[in-house]
């Protein structure tokens, strides 16, 4: 079937089988391999992209269902010459070892920080009405849909916290 995807600000016309997930459309049809396939069942978060600004699992999304949505992948978040603050902080804090989960971590963190800015509570929030501090517990809870098999979690949390503070300097090690 013929579909149109709005991807990183550009329209793309594709001919896909209805079974094609957004993840496979990105990687196989459009050659955008930044978005990773881990479990392919919504458990690991490595396929996380932003849809209309919200983080979702591309592996559990049919491409034919997301026409007219604005989709942002890691390629739309930053480029090697123009890293986003989150990307820079992941580099500065070694927020990875193998790097396979990193695009999903960064897209998820971008969506998560927007959710906090919108005043959304989390399971870790003491009060449903905030304020929501970027504590370790809040970040860990809100990022629980992204697994890192290298267990770089400590540095991922530090990178996200630093990026959220709009501070590109590395925290001194305590």
């Amino acid at each position: 079937m013929q579909i149109t995807l709005n991807l990183n600000g550009t329209s793309h016309h594709l001919d896909v089988d209805p079974r094609t997930t957004l993840l496979d459309a990105l990687r196989h049809h459009l050659g955008l391999t930044g978005t990773k396939k881990g479990c392919d069942h919504g458990q690991c978060g490595s396929c996380t992209v932003l849809m209309d600004g919200r983080r979702v699992n591309a592996c559990l999304t049919l491409a034919c269902m997301v026409e007219d949505r604005d989709i942002t992948t890691i390629e739309g978040i930053g480029t090697p010459g123009h890293l986003s603050p989150l990307q820079q902080q992941f580099l500065d804090h070694d927020g990875f070892q193998c790097g396979y989960c990193t695009p999903g971590q960064i897209c998820s963190a971008a969506g998560m920080l927007e959710e906090i800015a919108a005043g959304w509570p989390s399971h870790a929030s003491e009060s449903l009405d905030g304020p929501f501090e970027l504590s370790h517990a809040e970040i860990a809870e809100r990022m629980s849909g992204n697994l890192c098999r290298c267990a770089a979690y400590t540095n991922i949390v530090a990178a996200i916290r630093q990026a959220a503070q709009g501070d590109n300097r590395r925290e001194d090690a305590a």
Binding site: M1, D17, P18, R19, T21, D40, H41, G42, G45, T48, M51, R54, R55, V56, N57, L60, T61, L62, C64, M65, S108, G111, M112, E115, A118, G119, W120, P121, S122, H123, S125, L128, D129, A140, E141, R142, M143, S144, G145, N146
Partner: protein
């Protein structure tokens, strides 16, 4: 995944007969990838105008397409039905809550690992085939309301809170009606493949919450890891005090049965009484009287007892046990 035809619905009158409805797709697509479900046709309802939360009388009408994340953060839900916000936030991941809808959450399959494994016998997947879970690995299986045909548990959190809130499900299609959430999900009996009261042609259009009753709202979920895991047991509690006595109590339980569980006898016992450890122990006795373990899930019986008592102590203001 098996092939299917695809149609994007433009109105509630545009639902092809026999087509399986897809919205968030978080459970359905997963099951289709495993070929545990293989619908011949899908109808995408995500473009329908069912995504609003509106006042209805003194209560709330939640459109079937309202996303779990939006519902958890909705100001009226946070203020008047915090047990619902807490239950939603205790479920799934941030990504999945952005995808999953209110109606779809109710339609998630009651399931167990044997349901997912097509090499295993499952009466739910293949009626009459038998149940490989019975006598198998049963750590997260049911202790209440199970049958010799199925011991799977309803895995959701949202519906457990809705059960404690006396929600109703609004159904559109050829026979528009409302049914109490209590009657929406079914116990397995000898037809575990029939999980809901929906009939062919039905579509969930909204969930209705009655006027808020106030009181203390708690959702206590016990699980194997701190986040993004199904409940081993969970307790949704809405408890109002009348002076030093319990004025009203609504308690629903997740992770223990084929549907969100509720026991009116427990609530009758508590209502009008002064909170005490003896009272709460008696409430747990009543709740667990029909409990039956299936091997490894024996631990759920004392776990549910302790979780209920801890939740009651918390919600009634008794000092937590040291």
């Amino acid at each position: 995944m098996r092939d299917f035809s695809f149609h994007r619905a433009t109105s509630l009158d545009d639902l092809p007969a026999g087509a399986t409805i897809i919205a968030g797709g978080t459970n359905l697509l997963d099951l289709m990838k495993h070929e545990v479900m293989a619908p011949g046709s899908l109808v995408d309802i995500t473009r329908l105008d069912l995504d609003r939360v509106e006042a209805e009388g003194q209560g709330l009408r939640i459109g079937a397409l309202v996303r779990n994340s939006d519902l958890a953060a909705h100001p009226a839900v946070r203020r008047d039905y915090p047990v619902l916000s807490r239950a939603l936030l205790a479920g799934a991941s941030g990504q999945l809550r952005n995808m999953a809808t209110t109606g779809g959450n109710l339609m998630q399959r009651t399931r167990c690992p044997y349901f997912y494994d097509r090499r295993m016998a499952c009466n739910k997947r293949d009626p009459g085939a038998g149940c490989s879970a019975i006598g198998g690995v049963t750590r997260n299986h049911a202790i209440l309301g199970a049958s010799p045909h199925c011991i799977a548990t309803y895995p959701g959190d949202m519906a457990v809170a809705l059960r404690a809130l006396d929600a109703e499900v609004e159904i559109g299609g050829p026979s528009p009606r409302r049914i109490p959430l209590a009657d929406f999900h079914k116990l397995p009996g000898d037809t575990p493949h029939v999980e809901t009261a929906l009939q062919p042609g039905d579509i969930i259009t909204a969930v209705i919450l009655p006027a808020p009753v106030g009181g203390q709202h708690r959702y206590r979920k016990v699980r194997d890891r701190a986040s993004y895991a199904f409940a081993l047991v969970s307790v949704a509690a809405v408890i109002g005090m009348d002076g030093s006595r319990i004025g009203h109590a609504a308690l629903a339980f997740g992770g223990v049965a084929h549907k969100p569980w509720r026991d009116p006898e427990v609530e009758r016992l508590l209502t009008g009484q002064e909170p005490s450890d003896a009272l709460f122990a008696e409430a747990a006795d009543i709740l667990l009287r029909p409990a039956q373990a299936h091997g490894e899930n024996q631990f759920k019986i004392p776990l549910l007892r302790r979780t209920l008592i801890a939740t009651l102590r918390d919600a009634t203001g008794m000092e937590a046990k040291a």
